[in-house]
Symmetry: C2
Subunit: 246 residues, 2 copies
DNA sequence: GGGCGGAACATTGTATACATTATTGCCACC
DNA sequence: GGTGGCAATAATGTATACAATGTTCCGCCC
């Protein structure tokens, strides 16, 4: 258990198992036994159980009849659906924000982040600050989720964004070269502006439609990452390898 | 622990705690301590922990920083949002089913359930079989969720429907008298028919809109149940009392 | 040869002791 | 009087022994 640091055994085990699942080391359908993992990680069964419970909460594991857990299967289609679902939920948050009105402080923060995102763009792909954009983009989407002031919607949105490669920042830099990524982000940022304008003007239907289409950039990037191969049971591991390469 | 029967300590504790939360006996914000519950239920801490993990999975409890759980707060607004969210997810499932096409066997089963639902209606409110309708309605919605053939969407839909009083069958009989309930169900059944027709004709946008509006019947019934009082921290317990009365 | 039964095994369920960590409140000190 | 730290307390974190429950596979009987 020296692989991942910090916290207690439960947290380390949770992180380690999450990593193995997203890596594809633990393929979908694998049954996890407490004893096996306890031996493997050289700790007792108690933190293993706790970690598996938390991963079931995240949706990475499924409880199986008669006790125990299996790794949930994530095919390419599942990831596409997860991204679509994130778009639907972000769209709902944006629509409700537009319909009910947003807290001024929240709106101000959203606009501030929008300005910061703008600052990441240079005149061309070479001058683009991709890392800063990725970080700010995540915060922008967080703030947007808060704008609807609904704990229930925020909660479920956070859940869906935890699914493998469904988060708003998962595919910011996924294009095969900087020029393609740059173009992709130009479109994304234009949508950010339009989304905020729609919310401010109380145009709920427009806000919802933009948020959905915005998420589909991620879908497009995901499909581009798989353009050369066919989806299959190794989807996650191939995607993880792809993500490592940059 | 003789209150709830069947299964092991974990299951009984899970059911017992769920009941207390939905009843309002454990108000939102209450911190649950393993030791306190263990003493109360006269069992050890282990099944208590396990039960709390599962309820966190259902969204009834929240993990708190530094360990432990608190009961999640469900106000009237939260329930309204949960119902809206269910409508959004059912709408997405219906839209995707229309766009991608449905499995013939699945469609046949949906139509069969639709016929059965039809059979619950008599000429007037007095002849209506409310219990049968409630049961069939739940199965109809289950089958509809399956029609999109997406494990991810089905999974999240099931989750949201688990939130207190957000399920499709929660408010079937919630109106103050049979005549009002009957009218409500006439509208609901008309929407069922329209929804199936839209899916069959591949009219995705229409299917989505109908499913959303369909869920808003539940919202209307929820608000009717609260017409006389103001929402507050006792929302859940008042609603539970209301549900008991019939 | 097929199906039933039972024993051996694997796995999860439960209790409990002990370790570790967070919280609380008091007291000394500034 | 306020603030810092320290001790007491209470909670969760962990390990482990034992119980209960499936599961599997082998042999027996039909």
């Amino acid at each position: 258990m020296a692989r991942t640091r910090g916290g207690n055994h439960t947290k380390r085990t949770t992180d380690e198992l999450r990593k193995r699942i997203v890596n594809g080391e633990l393929p979908g359908g694998t049954r996890l036994t407490e004893l096996g993992l306890a031996e493997d990680l050289a700790i007792s069964r108690t933190p293993i159980r706790e970690a598996m419970s938390r991963l079931a909460e995240e949706g990475l594991l499924e409880r199986v009849r008669g006790g125990g857990f299996v790794v949930r299967t994530f095919t390419l289609e599942d990831m596409i659906d997860a991204i679509e679902l994130r778009g639907v939920l972000e769209g709902t948050a944006a629509r409700i924000a537009a319909e009910r009105g947003v807290d001024p402080a929240n709106l101000a923060e959203i606009k501030r982040l929008l300005d910061c995102l703008e600052g990441c763009f240079g005149g061309d792909a070479g001058a683009m600050n991709f890392d800063a954009y990725s970080e700010l983009n995540a915060r922008f989407h967080d703030q947007l989720a808060e704008s609807c002031a609904s704990p229930v919607i925020q909660h479920e949105l956070r859940r869906v964004a935890l699914l493998p490669f469904a988060s708003p920042s998962a595919f910011v830099m996924a294009r095969p070269d900087d020029a393609a990524s740059y173009r992709s982000l130009v479109v994304a940022q234009t949508q950010h502006h339009a989304l905020v304008a729609a919310i401010e003007r109380r145009e709920g239907a427009r806000a919802e439609a933009i948020a959905r289409e915005h998420a589909r950039i991620a879908r497009s990037n995901l499909e581009a990452a798989f353009a050369t191969g066919q989806p299959g049971p190794d989807t996650l591991s191939r995607l993880a390898r792809y993500a490592e390469q940059g």
